[in-house]
């Protein structure tokens, strides 16, 4: 895919290449066991451990390379065969934008009504919220890098609002990382 979208402003925003994504639903025990079978761990509530995104008390989003999604899905399905669980390939459902730069928290704070101060939003935290007018999962991957996971149909809108928020002359300077 060569037509991945990106721009630079207060932050750099890049569309991530297609990624393997699997919705896994089950109770904590089921999800723990199933994830273990593919070498992953169940993240704590409200966190993402790199591969697995906590979505809900009975749902996680498992991320893996796109090539191996079939294999991972099969493994999860087989691990949960006798249990009440749901594992589905949803790799095409969403688009992921990566946001990097010192103003990462700030740009997100223009669009999402969430507390992004570092004490309240540590690295590794994921929060399902809205990005302006669309649902979004915000994952702070590193201090200056976040991923915004949104539905694919509204990718252009997401890009548009991020671009507006990241206007080079629109710095706010509220967070410790880019205090003004």
């Amino acid at each position: 895919m060569s037509n991945l979208r990106s721009f630079e402003g207060l932050v750099t925003v890049r569309e991530m290449p297609l990624r393997g994504m699997i919705t896994l639903r089950g109770d904590t025990e089921v999800m723990t066991a199933a994830l273990k079978s593919v070498g992953f761990e169940l993240p704590e509530r409200g966190m993402c451990n790199g591969a697995v995104v906590w979505m809900s008390p009975d749902e996680v989003l498992v991320q893996c390379p796109h090539e191996s999604v079939g294999q991972t899905l099969a493994a999860l399905q087989s691990a949960t065969q006798s249990m009440h669980a749901l594992a589905l390939d949803v790799s095409d459902t969403r688009t992921v934008f990566e946001i990097t730069g010192a103003a990462t928290r700030e740009v997100l704070a223009k669009l999402a009504p969430i507390d992004l101060r570092s004490a309240q939003f540590p690295v590794g935290k994921v929060r399902r919220t809205r990005l302006a007018q669309i649902p979004c999962a915000v994952w702070l991957r590193e201090e200056s890098a976040a991923e915004a996971i949104i539905f694919r149909s509204v990718a252009e809108y997401a890009l548009g609002v991020l671009q507006s928020a990241a206007h080079p002359q629109a710095a706010v300077g509220y967070f410790a990382s880019n205090k003004m």
């Binding site: 639903r25 790799s91 095409d92 223009k110 302006a132 149909s153 809108y157 206007h167 205090k179």
Partner: protein, 993 residues
């Protein structure tokens, strides 16, 4: 005349000259000026006209409470009406025009109203213009409307951008005066996350102007040191030009930041609206000086004493050569002293108090200023500018004792704490008799989520009216350590309330004593309202329009309700105040809307094939936030021609529909069958794996809410299709029942709508194109009607459903969304030899109507039950329960007189008007024509080449062949016959091949 002095002006930079235009005159000021100070420096005291009488008006304040000096600012896409000159920073090229006059500010024909003032008392329009009836709309109202209004209406599209910012903190402090700074220092030192905002462009509030001494040093020095300390704190955020505009529930504060009002056209947002969530709001918003009510107090040159001082100290502008000060409290003496100190004349201080001032009185006398105590102004003389005042005894009726020439009257009627933010969310006030003001009642603050008060006030906003008291109040409220910062000011003697000057002013004087400058409400108006029974403060306000001007009563309310209380013979607290509503001062609509404009006004949802549609003539139809192709226009053809072409082609050859927007929901679990039996009116648990079934969903209130095809994927998995608009709604509906009613049922759902691109491949050549792509067996035997299968087509992994909404041979093919476009392209290419054309939603609608299939949103409208639509076959008789079943047993739902679905064909072959009603004999008790049916959807059928329609008709299915009358809106009638709703291929031969 008003002028710039050679020295002074702590906020201006005399090295930077800025040129601007006012009413076509080229003027100049300095960097740091605001528009008001710059105009005054150019001897432009006359700045506007009042609302009702078009009286000449000058500036009266030096802040956002200004009622008079409102301007049409800027031009074209950067034009703003009603810009307050007092809060508009001066910049090079500023372009301003005064408002509400014709033809000019100096000569305004509207001023004739002032001559008629005696005929225009409070409420006059309720008593006049009653006869003759048409005159209100056509004569009186247009005249009144035209003379009202203020600024011009903007015309061009806004060229600026705006944004929001969500900030969370522990303490948000509004007001960067000394109390706010002190509060920030304490909260910041305690390690709290603090936002301190100041609406003006500079810190410190009144203290530097008033010459206060804080902690043994001039206020200016203390402010600088405090700012330095705050800037060093990582946890403190400081912002100027940002107003705390509104307080809402649960610690929500609006911060209105004006980023580019001093530099229009600069790259970046003009305004930023902060939406702050904080544990505590500290309103350190200071106090506003009140005018005094004496005759002629609206003449240009009568200005609040504090404003006279502000212009002098902050901008080096003197408002006039001879200033008479009139007051009922100590603070106005500071103005007299400052003016004198600047070398200007202060012929007299008129102090209504018999005791006069203390230390300041002595200082005034020492400076050679004459002070008269126990006196008042009986009237101000002058037209467009003050020329003199007449002095009288405050205690009397206003017999003039002496006339004194002057060009400025600096008035002070005392101070009102700015309690707006305290009050927005329910904080209560108490009347402080000693200070003659309403102040926050600390016992009854606005209640937050935890049940405790979340707003506090600090400083003058609390009613702490001396410098020391203000700092001490901030210290106490914020729980500062040790002792409060010491301070000194020269205020010693208490205020004595003066609500009318003189105390027993005659009617003539009262009818010239303004309360609300902009809306032209006078003391006599409020008195009249009270006499006429408008005793509630809200009645008096609405009857007189007191406090309803753009300053929202900041200057007038307390004076007005004191007059009301007096007239009613009661006290001020029993009259009470009107309600304080956000915003504190007006904020731009654009800032409220934020970034949502133009392309990002709302999300547009796009399918994987969206760009192809756009490039191939799609005429769009919004369906929710989706854009679907209504039809694809070719060449010069009209929309209707395009639709007819698509129908014909699909029926005769091959059509493709982008069906990706249809909802797709996976339902899985041991109890999934049982669950779907509750969700759908039909039985879904007995659907065989590999098969599809059309299902209906109802609300618990019985009405049809959605339909779609359900496929059974495996033993405990079903895939439910919904309408385009239904995807999120139905998924939510399912989860709601699972989570809140049947939480012990073992079912998981997932909304996989966006995972798949789905294409309907429709028409006699449908199978041929799929076979050409190859990979899976799509033959009539292998994939039977209402079956589905997984496989590959042209190398794409697909799920193929053999379903039809058109009566044609039809497949719906789902592929992963990322491959949707490639799959579509492959179909178009392979289909070329079979006459492929894409078709849009209107073609879909026509084809299904030709087949008599209902459409959610057309045949159903939220009041229709499946039984109305002849869909009883889809309602299980075997099931004990499903959502909506009980509701459908109510008497009105089982009424045999409910209108039922039928087909309608016009006698003359024309198309029935959409939404037309079939009339019945006579009229009902309200004189409305009786009806017996209505059209639910209507089209020209290209297949049959005549109008076809569906409709709901009383006893319709029993009246086949009868003709009904459908009046058009123009009164003519279309006759239509009741027929079977299946117009085309009733045996289903075309789809079952």
């Amino acid at each position: 005349m008003s002028t710039r002095l050679n020295t002074g002006g702590r906020l201006i930079d005399r090295t930077q000259i800025q040129n601007f235009s006012f009413n076509g005159k080229q003027l100049s000021g300095f960097a740091g000026d605001n528009l008001a100070s710059a105009l005054l420096a150019n001897d432009q005291m006359l700045m506007g006209r009042s609302f009702k009488y078009h009286r000449p008006r000058g500036v009266v304040t030096s802040d956002g409470s200004e009622p008079n000096a409102l301007m049409n600012l800027g031009e074209e896409g950067r034009f703003e009406p009603n810009a307050r000159a007092t809060t508009t920073p001066l910049f090079e090229g500023l372009y301003a025009q005064s408002q509400n006059h014709f033809p000019s500010l100096e000569f305004d024909v509207g001023a004739v109203n002032a001559k008629l003032a005696r005929f225009l008392p409070a409420g006059f329009y309720y008593k006049m213009f009653i006869h003759p009836r048409p005159f209100w709309k056509h004569i009186y109202e247009p005249i009144i409307r035209h003379s009202a209004g203020l600024g011009k209406a903007p015309k061009a599209r806004d060229l600026d951008t705006y944004e929001h910012f969500y900030a969370f903190c522990d303490v948000a402090i509004v007001g960067g005066g000394i109390a706010g700074l002190q509060a920030a220092l304490i909260a910041g030192a305690a390690g709290k996350d603090v936002i301190l905002m100041e609406q003006d462009g500079h810190w410190g509030g009144r203290a530097p102007v008033d010459g206060d001494i804080i902690d043994g040093q001039p206020a200016e020095d203390w402010i600088s040191a405090t700012l330095k300390a705050l800037e060093a704190m990582e946890n403190v955020t400081l912002r100027t030009s940002m107003q705390g505009s509104g307080v809402y529930d649960h610690g929500y504060l609006l911060g209105y930041q004006r980023l580019a009002d001093g530099a229009p056209g600069a790259d970046g947002p003009r305004h930023r609206l902060w939406r702050i969530r904080t544990k505590q709001i500290v309103a350190a918003t200071g106090a506003i000086e009140r005018p005094l009510s004496f005759a002629g107090n609206d003449i240009p040159g009568v200005v609040l004493a504090s404003a006279v001082r502000d212009y002098l100290v902050n901008f080096g502008v003197s408002l006039g050569d001879r200033t008479v000060v009139v007051t009922n409290n100590d603070t106005a003496y500071l103005t007299a002293l400052a003016m004198k100190d600047a070398g200007l004349e202060v012929p007299l201080i008129v102090d209504a108090r018999t005791g006069g001032a203390g230390a300041l009185g002595e200082a005034a006398k020492a400076a050679g200023i004459r002070v008269e105590t126990g006196k008042g102004i009986s009237s101000v003389k002058g037209g467009k500018r003050v020329t003199s005042v007449e002095i009288c005894a405050q205690a009397g009726e206003g017999a003039p004792l002496e006339e004194i020439a002057c060009d400025v009257v600096a008035m002070s009627g005392g101070w009102s704490p700015v309690v707006h933010l305290w009050s927005h969310c329910g904080g209560k006030l108490i009347w402080n008799e000693a200070e003659a003001m309403f102040a926050p009642d600390p016992e009854r603050g606005p209640i937050g989520a935890d049940g405790a008060a979340f707003v506090t006030t600090a400083g003058a906003a609390s009613g702490a009216m001396t410098t020391a008291a203000a700092l001490a109040d901030a210290h106490t409220k914020l729980g500062g350590p040790g002792q409060p910062t010491p301070a000194q000011d020269p205020l010693t003697n208490p205020i004595e309330p003066v609500w009318m000057m003189p105390q027993s002013a005659s009617y003539k004087l009262r009818s010239k004593a303004w309360l609300d400058f902009q809306n032209d409400v006078k003391v006599s108006d409020v008195q009249l309202a009270a006499r006429e029974g408008f005793e509630s403060v809200e009645h008096a306000k609405r009857y007189t329009t007191l406090g309803m001007a753009t300053d929202q009563g900041k200057l007038s309310n307390i004076n007005g309700l004191a007059v009301l209380a007096n007239q009613l013979g009661t006290d001020i607290p029993s009259v009470g105040t009107t309600t304080f509503r956000p915003p504190y001062t007006p904020i731009s609509m654009a800032a409220i809307a934020g970034e949502a404009r133009g392309e990002i006004f709302q999300p547009i949802r796009k399918t994987p094939m969206h760009d192809w549609h756009a490039q191939n003539g799609a005429h769009w139809e919004p369906v929710g936030h989706w854009r679907r192709a209504y039809t694809y226009l070719r060449g010069e053809e009209t929309i209707s021609e395009a639709v007819q072409r698509e129908v014909k082609n699909t029926r005769e050859a091959l059509g493709l529909l982008d069906a990706s927007t249809l909802g797709k929901i996976i339902v899985k679990g041991p109890d999934a069958g049982k669950f779907l039996d509750m969700m759908y009116t039909n039985m879904m648990s007995n659907l065989k794996v590999g098969r599809c079934r059309y299902g209906l969903m109802c609300s618990e209130n019985g009405f049809l809410s959605d339909d779609g095809v359900v496929a059974r994927i495996d033993e405990d998995t079903w895939l439910c299709h919904t309408t385009t608009g239904g995807a999120d709604r139905i998924h939510g509906h399912m989860e709601e029942w699972l989570q809140t009613e049947w939480w012990d049922w073992k079912v998981y759902t997932a909304n996989v709508t966006e995972q798949y691109a789905q294409v309907a491949v429709v028409g006699p050549n449908a199978r041929k194109v799929l076979e050409k792509l190859g990979g899976m067996d799509v033959s009539a035997e292998a994939l039977t009607f209402m079956g589905w299968a997984d496989g590959t087509l042209g190398g794409f992994e697909v799920r193929a459903y053999r379903i039809s909404f058109s009566g044609e041979l039809s497949y719906e093919i789902a592929v992963p969304a990322a491959q949707g476009r490639a799959f579509w392209d492959a179909l178009m290419e392979a289909g070329e030899e079979f006459g492929v054309m894409p078709y849009g939603t209107e073609c879909l609608h026509i084809m299904r109507a030709e087949k008599g299939f209902i459409m959610i949103g057309d045949e159903s409208d939220g009041t229709v039950i499946p039984q109305d639509l002849g869909l009883s076959w889809a309602i299980s008789k075997k099931k004990e329960d499903f959502i909506g079943k009980r509701a459908q047993l109510r008497s009105h739902m089982t009424d045999p007189n409910r209108w039922k679905l039928v087909g309608l064909e016009t006698v003359d072959g024309s198309v029935l008007p959409d939404g037309a009603y079939a009339v019945a004999e006579g009229a009902n008790a309200n004189g409305q024509r009786n009806t017996q049916g209505r059209v639910t959807s209507t089209y020209h059928s290209p297949t049959l080449d005549r109008g076809i329609a569906m409709g709901l008709v009383l006893h319709g299915p029993d009246r086949m062949g009868e003709t009904l009358d459908f009046p058009r809106v123009d009164g003519t009638v279309v006759k239509a016959r009741i027929v079977d709703p299946v117009f085309f291929d009733p045996e289903g031969e075309k789809q079952n091949v």
